[in-house]
Amino acid sequence: MESRETIIEARAVEKHFVQPDGHRIQVIAPTDLAVYSGQIVALLGASGSGKSTMLRLLTGLTSPSAGEVLWRGRPFNGQIPNVSIVFQSFALFPWLTVLENVEAPLQARGTPAIECHRRALKILDTVGLDGFEAAYPKELSGGMKQRVGFARALVVEPELLFMDEPFSALDVLTAENLRHELLELWLSKKMSTRAIFFVTHNIEEAMLLADRIIVLDRNPARIRADFEVNLAHPRNRQAERFVELMDYIYKVLTQPKLEHALPSPETKTAAEGEPTPGKYPMLPHARPGGIAGLLEILLDRDGKDDLYHLADELVMEVDDLLPIVEAAVLLNFARLQEGDVQVTPEGRSFVEADILTRKVLFREAALRHALLLRQIERALRARSGHKLPDDFFRDILDEHFSDEEARRQLETAIHWGRYAEIFDYDANRKQLFLTETVERDQT
């Protein structure tokens, strides 16, 4: 093993956003992170977990609210070090040709025109875009645009290559192709880059590329796991160790508040897992229809299936599946055990009931287990007229979540409230109001 050199080190970095009323929302909890040379590191987390913010902290694009980020032991001092970023939506300048886009970083460093030209042509050849120099980005497909993104990133021979969800805007086959080519470049040592750091929400992508995986919890962002993947390339998705690690990651992601042991003595760090006391529970962003659908599928398989297997069969991303699983677990319609999802008796009754009874069961479960819905229902009931403006609840949520997240929480709560016929929302008056319930026979 070559000696590891620390290229970037983040010490106790935090990031807050201050809201107009002075309230601070913490996006990243005090975190230590180091990037060593010779590794591909993946930062894995669900959407909104602050991973893009973390990436920008490490590159120097944003500065931390507290703590410091050191580049080879020295603070940034406002300068950007020799790094490159590949962006999720390519970030190509639409009015420059492919060649001009790739030459731009070289021009920025004062390289003479002939040299710019030569190096740009060479790197375009390496990424396979030879012949497309005079094309404009709008004439290219998504995969080709990202190749230009890579060419532009690599033409300056950066010490560290950062990637912000580089393949999520591409279709599955193109993403697979590009991943393959990136790995080839890295393994054949054709790049002078010392390390690659990328951010993704795709667990499989992290497993396929990375030598080291860091898993982030969200709200606020906190490292839940940081371990090395010592599997040789090309990696086999069916290999036992691969599956083992995937399961482990799923567990960490679905139950971030508990400690999980890495299935092997080679654990880097398993961060402390005491759940923050009095933490306001987040409503998972899933629709009642989605929850019902998941439970129906599970019942088809005898009420129980492996999460990884399920996601694979449904060709779904973790991002889309996890919230539905979380919601089902929250409502006590399902249970998570060792990476397996299992339907509970309550869940079974829910699935087997007719439409109206489903609403009743959902209503009971929601009122019992979802704090936000309980709060809304109580508040509306207590008010004469049974009406309250949405800002009332938005203020409560603002205490615990960022603006954007508070809005989403309320949206999801309204969905659930409407389905369960607990309350409804008048968009014109911006008010929530209690639904008149017709007494139904409780079967």
Partner: protein, 576 residues
């Protein structure tokens, strides 16, 4: 490319490009020669009230003069825009003052700047014609610059975050960022606003080339003066010649300047996929194929750009100073704020004393004038909307109709209404009407096109599936308008109405007060008060009337238009 074999085609292949070169070279020569001639007259002795001939032979010279004035004013506007818009977009503290200031400046009619600008320029160049010319150019400038500045500011603030981050991470220096990111992103908005600005220049040309300031008579050789002189004398033939010349210049400008620029600026469109129909321009194609232009690019512009780049690149290697601005900067900011406050205070005190000198009848004139002009603006907007909404929707919904109607509307819109006004007045005076109605007609003529074009755009933007849903539900016409069409075009309609309202207020200064056939037609109105006060040299009245107009426009902006915009952005936005 294979060379054709037939003799004839080879002949064509070779001479065609040469023809282009000759044309371009010739145009360049003519342009420089014209500049020299004009520069000679402008640098000549001070003759502010040159006699204006009404014969058509004088027209080419007059046209050239006016064209040059409008273009120089435009270039000045562009420079101002780049500096002001840039600072306002990037300096948060400055922004807080600069943008409201821009709002206020936009609401001040062109004539109100007249005394200050002219007196200053003539004082600077007392013995040369240059002072008067500069004054006229600056006046035209005040009618052109504000909307361009707003456009640049809005564009700079809406640059996508990722493009900015890419520029930062790849260490673009200030110049490279400007040339490769900011300017291209703002290009399309700037081009359309430039077209609007130059059109505004033509609109106010008459007022800016020939005017009375107190006891002084200013008459500059140009199309505007020609038209005004002809109108004053009631000389119909001259009026028509002048109108023809103006339309001719506008059409030429459109063909040689705007069409190629619009076609070129397509490449700055922020779209991911090429759109089906792209504007084309023959002139642009010629220019692209020309060797002269290509050589200019390679030998002159690119090395200049490289050199500029390298100069600015050196300036970013210095690491940023640690947190906390240097002492001198803090003190400079403080000094600036104090000076500004002092200047504003002084201005307020002076204006106060000036206005205190107003007598009862003048105050009454202002108040009644304000009410009348406000009413006229509203009537003009109403009438304009009443015909442009149905017409615009009809055109927007039918591509066949659009193909015919849009070019017609564009030609009609590009004729400056002030040039048409004498003809309109001739008809009105025959019919026995006065300026009370006539002013509304002029406001309409000048501003209805804004509403029309926006409504057409809005109607085109309504998605086909909404229209299909409406027809399947067999909605009655009333319901179709109520539920689909009016809500659909609402955001565009508001934009059109705001622009039209601003134009109407501005137009009031020429609409309510006009020299025609030896007499001065005027009607009660704020615009008339302003023009009249300028003519008579009553600066106190001018200042007071301007303040009232400006306050009204800004207040209506905040109370009415802003609310409607917010409604348009939330409830009536078409995307999810």
């Amino acid at each position: 490319m294979t060379k054709p074999i037939l003799g004839r085609t080879i002949f064509h292949e070779r001479t065609w490009p040469i023809l282009v070169e000759i044309l371009i070279f010739g145009a360049g020569l003519a342009f420089f020669y014209g500049l020299l001639v004009i520069a000679e007259t402008w640098g000549g002795p001070f003759s502010p009230a040159a006699p204006i001939s009404r014969s058509p032979q004088a027209l080419p010279a007059y046209a050239a003069n006016s064209l040059l004035r409008v273009l120089i004013a435009y270039l000045l506007s562009l420079l101002f825009t780049l500096v002001y818009g840039y600072i306002a977009a990037y300096n948060a503290k400055a922004e807080r003052i600069m943008i409201p200031l821009l709002d206020i400046l936009q609401s001040i009619p062109v004539l109100s700047f007249l005394p200050g600008v002219m007196l200053a320029m003539v004082a600077l160049f007392p013995h040369s014609q240059l002072g008067v010319e500069l004054g006229s150019i600056l006046l035209i400038f005040t009618g052109q610059v504000w909307n361009m500045t707003f456009s640049l500011y809005a564009s700079l603030k809406s640059i996508p975050q990722e493009l900015r981050e890419a520029a930062r991470v790849y260490r673009f220096n200030w110049w490279q960022r400007f040339i490769q990111l900011e300017l291209p992103y703002a290009a399309i908005g700037l081009v359309w606003n430039s077209m609007m600005s130059v059109a505004g220049g033509w609109f106010f040309l008459m007022a800016c080339e020939m005017f009375v300031l107190g006891e002084r008579d200013f008459r500059l050789p140009g199309l505007g003066s020609y038209l005004q002189t002809a109108a004053s004398a009631g000389d119909t033939t001259a009026i028509l010649w002048g109108l023809g010349a103006m339309i001719g210049i506008i059409v030429l400008l459109d063909l040689l300047l705007w069409r190629p620029v619009i076609a070129w600026v397509e490449k700055f469109k922020l779209e991911q996929v090429e759109s089906a129909s792209v504007p084309r321009s023959t002139v642009l194609n010629f220019l692209r194929r020309s060797m002269i232009v290509a050589n200019l690019k390679r030998k002159v512009f690119r090395p200049l750009g490289d050199r500029a780049n390298r100069y600015f690149e050196r300036s970013i290697d210095r690491p940023n100073l640690p947190l906390g601005s240097p002492i001198w900067r803090v003190w400079a900011e403080r000094a600036l704020t104090v000076t500004l406050a002092a200047a504003i205070g002084y201005g307020l005190v002076r204006s106060g004393t000036m206005m205190a000198g107003l007598n009862r009848s003048e105050i009454a004139e202002i108040v009644s004038g304000a009410a009348m002009t406000l009413m006229r603006v509203m009537v003009a907007l109403f009438i304009g909307a009443a015909w442009t909404i149905p017409a615009g929707v009809a055109i927007g919904f039918s591509p066949r109709l659009a193909r015919v109607a849009q070019p017609l509307a564009q030609i009609a819109a590009s004729v400056p209404a002030t040039a048409l006004f004498p003809v309109v007045l001739l008809v009105l005076v025959q019919a026995g009407g006065g300026l009370a109605i006539g002013s509304i007609v002029l406001m309409l003529l000048g501003t209805q096109w804004y509403i029309l074009f926006n409504v057409i755009a809005g109607a085109m933007a309504i998605p086909t599936d909404l229209k299909e849903a409406a027809s399947i539900s067999r909605l009655r016409t009333v319901d179709r308008w109520r539920l689909l069409i009016l809500p659909g075009i609402f955001p565009y309609l508001i934009t059109g109405l705001v622009t039209a309202a601003g134009g109407a207020w501005n137009a009031s200064i020429v609409a309510e007060y006009f020299h025609f056939k030896g007499q001065t037609l005027m009607t009660t109105g704020l615009g008339a008060t302003i023009s009249h006060a300028t003519d008579k040299g009553n600066f106190d009245l001018l200042l007071a009337a301007t303040i009232v107009m400006s306050t009204m426009v800004v207040t209506i902006n905040r109370l009415v238009w802003r609310r409607l915009y917010r409604l348009a952005e939330t409830r009536f936005k078409l995307e999810a």
